[in-house]
Symmetry: D2
Subunit: 284 residues, 4 copies
Amino acid sequence: MSKFILNINCPDKKGIIATVTNFIHLNAGNILYIDQYVDRENKLFFMRLECEFINGDFSEQQFRTTFNEAVVQQFDLNYELYNQEDRPKMALFVSKYDHCLYDILARYEADELKVEIPFILSNHEDLKGIAERFDLPFYHVPVTKETKAEAEQQQLEVLKKHEVECIVLARYMQIISPQLIEHYPNKIINIHHSFLPAFPGAKPYHSAYNRGVKIIGATSHYVTEELDAGPIIAQDITQVSHLHSVGDFIAKGRDLERIVLSKAIQLHTNRKVMVYQNKTVIFS
Amino acid sequence: MSKFILNINCPDKKGIIATVTNFIHLNAGNILYIDQYVDRENKLFFMRLECEFINGDFSEQQFRTTFNEAVVQQFDLNYELYNQEDRPKMALFVSKYDHCLYDILARYEADELKVEIPFILSNHEDLKGIAERFDLPFYHVPVTKETKAEAEQQQLEVLKKHEVECIVLARYMQIISPQLIEHYPNKIINIHHSFLPAFPGAKPYHSAYNRGVKIIGATSHYVTEELDAGPIIAQDITQVSHLHSVGDFIAKGRDLERIVLSKAIQLHTNRKVMVYQNKTVIFS
Amino acid sequence: MSKFILNINCPDKKGIIATVTNFIHLNAGNILYIDQYVDRENKLFFMRLECEFINGDFSEQQFRTTFNEAVVQQFDLNYELYNQEDRPKMALFVSKYDHCLYDILARYEADELKVEIPFILSNHEDLKGIAERFDLPFYHVPVTKETKAEAEQQQLEVLKKHEVECIVLARYMQIISPQLIEHYPNKIINIHHSFLPAFPGAKPYHSAYNRGVKIIGATSHYVTEELDAGPIIAQDITQVSHLHSVGDFIAKGRDLERIVLSKAIQLHTNRKVMVYQNKTVIFS
Amino acid sequence: MSKFILNINCPDKKGIIATVTNFIHLNAGNILYIDQYVDRENKLFFMRLECEFINGDFSEQQFRTTFNEAVVQQFDLNYELYNQEDRPKMALFVSKYDHCLYDILARYEADELKVEIPFILSNHEDLKGIAERFDLPFYHVPVTKETKAEAEQQQLEVLKKHEVECIVLARYMQIISPQLIEHYPNKIINIHHSFLPAFPGAKPYHSAYNRGVKIIGATSHYVTEELDAGPIIAQDITQVSHLHSVGDFIAKGRDLERIVLSKAIQLHTNRKVMVYQNKTVIFS
C-alpha cells in the first residue's frame, strides 16, 4: 500500500475538487484527509490531500504521469507530491545559543520530528560538545565579513553532499546571502525573537523592553532576501510586565523560541505549508 | 443565485467526497468551501460544504430531491441543508445577570450575529428594562419548584409561537427539564462558568478558589439531561493567582462567559457544529 | 474610617519603605496592600499602597500635610493620594463604531467600573441613540480639517464643565491635538487595533492581513503627541490564519478591543498605573 | 556583602510591614524587593523580601538571632531565610518518558535553573543513556508492588546521602507513599498531564479526548497523600479540536508538561512559593 501527500494550487475554477477527488477514486485510491482554501480576492485555489492506494503498484511515478494527463493541464495546476514514508533531510545551523538546538535534538530523539538530521553546522565551536553528545556530525565553518562568500560555498558543499532538503536556523546569528537562499527557496526556516513585524533585526528584546510592551513574541518564517520579512509560518507570545528586565525577556523568550521553531519545523516537514505572495497557507 | 450550506455525516466509505462534489458540479453549482473530518476509530465521515448555484431555480426543495436520489441512499447519509440567507430565530433566556445579555444584544445591534431574536424570557423581572431599551418583547415566566412543569409549558408555547430554532441560556439559573430538552435537542446553548469537566454544578468560582487553581475557565455546551455534561462547543480560560478573591474570579469570569457564549452562538448559527457521541465537530 | 490609595515614585534610596510604612503605622493607620518596584537601571523607586485609618478624622488634607513634613522632602518624593470612595469622572469620545461603547456602558451598568460617566461626545450623530438608551447626555461636535481647533475648544469647555478627570477614546477616529493632550497628560486612554509597535496608524488590520501574521492584537495606551506611541497600558492578542479575511480580522479584533480597553480603564481608574519614561508600571 | 531571601507568614496584625522593614533598615540592610499578600478571609499575612547587607559580617546566623528577638515573637511569625547564593540540591525521578527530563537538563546546562542536580533516579533503565550523556549519576531502583517499601527505603538513602532539598517527578509513573512524602513535605514537585482538578489519576489525555474538551492542560503541584490533589504551583493549557486524536493530545501535552514543570521548578527554587491550606501563594 502506498500513501501520498498531494499539495495543489491553481487559479480558482469550477470543478477542481470534483476532478481531483474523482481522479483518486478512479485509481482505486482512498482520500484520508482533504483540506482546501480559496483566496477569493486573488482567485486562487489551494488544496492539501492525503490519500492511500491499496494497490502498492501505484507508484509516485505512476501518480505523476496519470495526474499530469488527467488533471494538471486542464486546471493550470501546480502540485507537490510526497510519499508519506519519506523523511526529509534537515540541516541545523547554530551559533552559540543552545536552547533551540537542545529542544530540536530532544524532540528528534523522542521521534516527534519526521526528519533525518544529517549534521549540525556552526560558525563557532561552542556547541560541538552537544553534537557529540547526540552522535551527530559537526561542521565548524567560521564566518567573517571577508570570508562570507567562501564560507557559504563551503556550507553549500556540505548541504549538497548530505542531500539536505531544508535548513533550520536554530538561532544562527548570521545573515544568509541571496546566493544561498536561491538554492533553498522557502526551505530555510528561521526563528526570530520578536513578534514580527515588530522589532525586526538585532536585539529585539531590548527594543521591546524600551518600548514598554506588555507582550513579547517569537516568529518563525522562511528566509527571504529582505531581513526578517519572509513568509510567517508560526508565531506565539507571552505576557511580560514592568517587573521583567531585559534578561527576563530573554529568558522567557527562550521558551517561545523553542515552541515556535519546533512548531514551524513540524508544519514544514509534514508538508502543511504552502507559500504564495510572501504569505503562508497552513493546512490543519 | 442560491447559496446553501450542506452538513453531512455517514459511515466512512470510499468515494463520498468525489460523489458529493461531483453532484454539485453536475448541477452547475460551485463549491465555495469544503471541510471534512473522518473519525477513524469509529469510521465516521463528516463534511461541511458551502456551495452556490448560478441558476436561481435550483431551490432548496430541488436540491433535496435530487440529492436524496443521487447520493443519500448510496452512502447511508444524514444531512442538513441550510439556505445561507436564512436567519434562525434565537430565544434568550436570562435570570438576573445582565453581562451576557448585554453582550449578545450589542453584537446583535452591530449585526455580528446572523440571527433574529424574537424575545427575551426570564424567571425574574430584573432585566425587563434592558429588553425595553433594545425594543424586544420580554416574557416574565416565574419558576418555583411547584410550578416548574407549568412554567415550562408556558415557555414552550412562547417558543412555538415565535417559531424559535434555538435557545440561548445567557446565565439562566434554572435547570432545563428533559421534557423541554427533547423539543430542542442540541439546540439549547448554555454557558457554564467553569472549565468543564472541572467544577460542574453550582458555585464553580467558589470551588475553583478553594482548590487554588491558577487558571479559570468558561464552557459553552449544548444542554442534555445530565447537568453540565452536554457536548462542548467552546471553552476559554484566563489566569488567576492567589491575589484574586472569589469576587475577582467572578469579575474575570464575566469576560470569559461573554466571549465563550458569543463564540458558541456564532458557531451554532453559522452551522459549523455537528454533534455525535456527546462531542462536537467544529468546522473552520 | 477613611481609606486611601497612595502612589509614590522617587529616586531609589535606602529606607523608603521603612519610612513610609512607619508613617502609616504611627498615624494609627493600617496597610491593606503594598506593592513596590525598583527600576535598577534608572535607580527609581515606585510604590502603591492602600491604607485605612480607623480614626475618620485623618482626612486627605491631614494626610498630605503630615506626609509632606515627615517623608516627602527627605526622599525627594512624588506622590498621588486618592480617597478610595472617589469615583473619577470619565468622558467617552466615540465616532461611528459602537462595540467598545456598548461594552463600556454594559460594564458601567453592571457596576464593574468605579467611575462616573458624565457624557458621550462624538464627531458623528450615529451613536446618539445609544446614549439615549443609557440616559446619558450626548454632545455632537463635528470635526473637519478647518474646524478642528474650534471643535477642540468646544470639547474642552464640555470637559471642564463636567469636571472630567480622564477621557476614553472608544474608537474615536480623530487625532487629538497637542493642545488638548496637555490638559490631560496621561489621562487620555486610546485603544489601537493592533499589537503596537506593529502597525501603527490607519488600517492596521489590513496591514496585518497583507503581512500574513498568525496573531493579531489590540493595544490600549495613553495618548501622547506622537501617534500611537504613548505609554502602553494593556495588550492582548488572538490567533488568526490564512482562512481569515480582513473582515474576519476586524470582527475578531472587536473582541480584543473591548477586552483590552476595558482592562486599561479599570487599571487607570483603580489607580494602578504609574507612567515614567513613556512606559507604565502596572501594580497588581 | 550578603544577600538574603526572607519569606514570612503570620496572623495579620497592624505594623508587621513597618516592623520588618525597620528591622532591615536598622541593621544597615537594603530592601531590594518586597511583595506581600493578605488573605483577608483567614486573616493571614504573607511576605517575601529580598535584602542585602553591605556589612558582609551580617551572617545568616546573625540574621536569625537578631530577627528572632526583634520580630518573631511579637507577631507569632513563621519564616524561612535563604542565602541567595545557595543552590538547592534537586533530585530527578523519571520512568520511561524523556521529554521533561531532556527539558530540565537542557535548562540546567544553559544555567536557567539555580540548582544542583546530584542524580537521576528511575524505576526503569530506559533513560540511563541520557544520564550518561549529561554526566550525571543514575540510580536504577526498580519498584514492584511487593518491593515498594524497600525501594522507597533505598530511595531515601540516596536522597539523604546527596543531601537533597527537593525532588522533581519528571513523569515518574509511580505513586509516592506517605512515608516518603513526610520526609519532603511541599518539596516533591509533580507534573500531572491534565488541567486539575479535571482528570486526576491515570490516562487523563484519554479522558479529555472522550469528554470532547476544546482545551487540554498540565498542572504542576506539590505531592501530598491524596493523589493529584496537592497545592497547585503552575498550570497552562493549549487548544485542541475534534481533529486531534489521543495521540495528538499526548504530543501537544508534552510541550505543556515541559513548560509547566520547568516553571514550577523555577518558582520553587527561587523561593517564590509559600504553601498554606493546600494552596500556594506565588510571589512575583
